[in-house]
């Protein structure tokens, strides 16, 4: 029983990191209808920038602030150079553009900051905690705490500020929002910037967890099952989806893994998503699209 709880909790906590990545997607998807594959590369870039600045001797807070600035500038450039020209194209086209974007960012990241794996020390010790007889990773706990905090901040941003309301309007009905005088480009810039910051947090946490290296940009692919289960358009869904995927992966690896050779984490989540798609093509919380002839 303890083993089960440990695995479950470990999975849930890891799942919060998935949620974080997925939230970045949901933000961008809600506002501009794009599945931003480049989110992963942005994550990597953020983590690398922070690590490089820190290594150069800059104190933690300053490095963080500068990285945030870099991410925001990057987001603005992306919106202007990539998104705007492709504004009415199909989802596949947009996805492929972000694929190309991820290559550019990866090339830049590696070119400017080198290819070795870097350790990222956020000052969180990975000492196991014990709740009763159940072992929990302290790092995972802190990471979840940060994610939760970020979600609360985002929720406040969306529901209480004017900009947040405008964002929701754009997500709901772009044309109506336009006719209300909302500046679409400004909204997209903000959304991408926020996504960049979310990506930064996710990148730092992931980087601290497994080292800053290239597989980080592939973490984004895992976001796809999360979004499918939780729906592409809901932050709450991203959270729930991430938790489900994290827990399921961990449990599957622990219980099913030994039966078929282990190491099933790379693909298990996708099969889970497949099953979900069969049952509910729009995810748990997402919108359903109707096609008319």
């Amino acid at each position: 029983m303890n083993f089960f709880l440990e695995t479950l909790i470990g999975g849930l906590l890891a799942g919060t990191l998935y949620s974080l990545v997925a939230i970045g997607f949901v933000l961008i998807y809600k506002a501009s209808g794009v599945f931003n594959f480049a989110q992963g590369a942005m994550l990597l870039f953020a983590a690398l920038t922070f690590v490089s600045l820190h290594e150069q001797g800059l104190p933690f807070a300053l490095a963080l602030a500068l990285t945030v600035l870099v991410m925001i500038v990057g987001a603005l450039l992306i919106e202007r150079l990539v998104l705007r020209p492709l504004v009415n194209r199909s989802q596949i086209t947009l996805f492929m553009a972000t694929l190309g974007l991820s290559f550019i960012i990866e090339g830049l990241a590696q070119g400017l900051m080198g290819a070795q794996v870097r350790a990222l020390d956020l000052g969180i010790e990975d000492v196991p905690l014990f709740v009763g007889e159940i072992m929990i990773s302290q790092f995972d706990l802190v990471a979840s705490g940060v994610s939760a905090l970020l979600v609360v901040v985002l929720a406040l941003l969306f529901n209480k500020t004017r900009i947040g309301v405008a964002l929701r309007a754009v997500a709901d009905d772009t044309r109506a929002a336009l006719s209300l005088g909302i500046n679409l480009n400004r909204i997209w810039q903000i959304v991408w910037a926020v996504a960049g910051v979310v990506g930064l947090v996710a990148g730092l946490l992931w980087g601290a967890r497994q080292g800053v290296q290239f597989s980080l940009s592939l973490v984004v692919l895992k976001a796809l099952p999360v979004l499918i289960i939780g729906g592409f358009t809901s932050i709450g869904g991203a959270i729930v989806g991430g938790l489900i995927v994290g827990a399921a992966e961990n449990l599957a690896e622990a219980y099913i893994g030994p039966l078929i050779g282990g190491g099933i984490t790379p693909w298990f989540a996708y099969f889970l998503a497949l099953i979900f798609l069969y049952i509910r093509p729009a995810g748990l919380f997402g919108d359903r699209a109707i096609e008319r002839v």
Binding site: L86, G100, F103, I104, G107, L224, P225, P281
Partner: protein, 354 residues
């Protein structure tokens, strides 16, 4: 009242009309002659091994993916997974079926890959468009895992790799660069001919109808689900053979890692840059992807007097490819093939402007 179009261009002074081209390239017999006779005779080993063979195999892989993604509109990021199936299946057949001729082993590998592709294509009847990517991702990661995890596939070799089996035809060894080149070339020419037949036939039209508007296709009586599955099967067949050729005619030895997700992305890039929904585009795209690294490294050496970091070149290449993808998607979604066709048209018309 009839309206005649006297020149290629606007009848109503609006956007120019797009022509759908459907002709064999000029000088095809000559091209084939050069490919089959001149090049093997003239070419040195380096050119054959490092440039021509991978170019041909990548063209074939692009062609396979294009049938599914470019013609039928089903986005797939799992191309390399099916290539792996073909490589390992061909290896298994050659290893375990004594005396099986190479062509049959290749076709067998292709058929097995096609069957696996069919299996992963079943969800396409329920799952549409963008979400289908999840199926192909699942295929990619799962297949990569299978061929790394289960030693039966690589005959329990401790390195996890499979190596070129006896490459021979009617007793003649094909292990030399020329031999492997001709093997690859023959496969590619044959399969391209079949692909051209397919895309010009009702099968091809049904596929394109599904791509353009599958609800309408269904309403006019096209069995959409059946054709989607067919596309998966045929595409994977092509990818399987390409995978076998990649492993044995080009690399020599291969493992599951030779067919990872980056390879899938590479093939996707080939068809985006070359032109989705075109046959010639695959060759153009593959040529581009094969030659650019070489051109870049030569340019780097020339510009910086030989002091250039291979790693930085790779990064530059990534940036270049990424930018090109975006540029093509914005400016010319039909890829290089359309760009070149327009250029050719303009050159043809140019003397007439005087």
């Amino acid at each position: 009242m009839t309206v005649t179009v006297s020149r290629l261009g606007a009848v109503f002074d609006e956007a120019p009309l797009t022509l759908v081209r459907r002709s064999w390239p000029v000088g095809l017999p000559l091209l084939l002659l050069v490919a089959f006779v001149v090049l093997p005779w003239l070419g040195n080993d380096y050119w054959l091994n490092a440039i021509l063979i991978p170019f041909l195999v990548l063209s074939l892989a692009g062609l396979g993916l294009n049938l599914l993604t470019g013609y039928t509109g089903q986005t797939s990021v799992g191309a390399a997974g099916f290539m792996a199936v073909g490589a390992f299946a061909t290896y298994g057949l050659l290893l375990r079926v004594p005396g099986l001729p190479l062509p049959l082993a290749l076709i067998g590998g292709g058929l097995i890959a096609g069957a696996v592709g069919l299996l992963f294509g079943i969800p396409s009847s329920r799952i549409k468009g963008f979400y289908l990517m999840v199926t192909t991702l699942a295929a990619q990661f799962f297949l990569e895992w299978v061929f790394a995890k289960f030693p039966w596939f690589y005959n329990h070799a401790s390195s996890g790799t499979i190596s070129a089996p006896r490459l021979e035809l009617f007793g003649y060894s094909l292990a030399s660069p020329v031999g492997r080149y001709l093997l690859t070339l023959s496969c590619v020419v044959l399969l391209t001919w079949v692909a051209v037949n397919l895309v010009r036939s009702q099968v091809g039209r049904n596929w394109m109808a599904i791509r353009d508007m599958d609800t309408a296709a269904s309403v006019i009586g096209i069995p959409v689900e059946r054709y989607k599955r067919l596309a998966f099967a045929v595409s994977s067949f092509y990818l399987g053979i390409a995978g076998a050729l990649w492993a044995f005619a080009y690399l020599g030895t291969a493992s599951a890692g030779s067919f990872d997700i980056n390879r899938s992305f590479q093939i996707l890039f080939i068809i985006i840059i070359g032109g989705m929904g075109s046959i010639a585009g695959n060759f153009i795209g593959a040529a581009f992807i094969s030659l650019t690294p070489i051109l870049l490294s030569h340019a780097g050496q020339w510009l910086f007097d030989g002091n250039v970091d291979a790693g930085q070149l790779q990064n530059l290449q990534k940036i270049l490819f990424g930018s090109l993808i975006i540029w093509f998607l914005i400016k010319e979604p039909e890829g290089l093939v359309r760009l070149l066709a327009d250029l050719r048209e303009r050159i043809r018309v140019w003397p007439l402007r005087f």
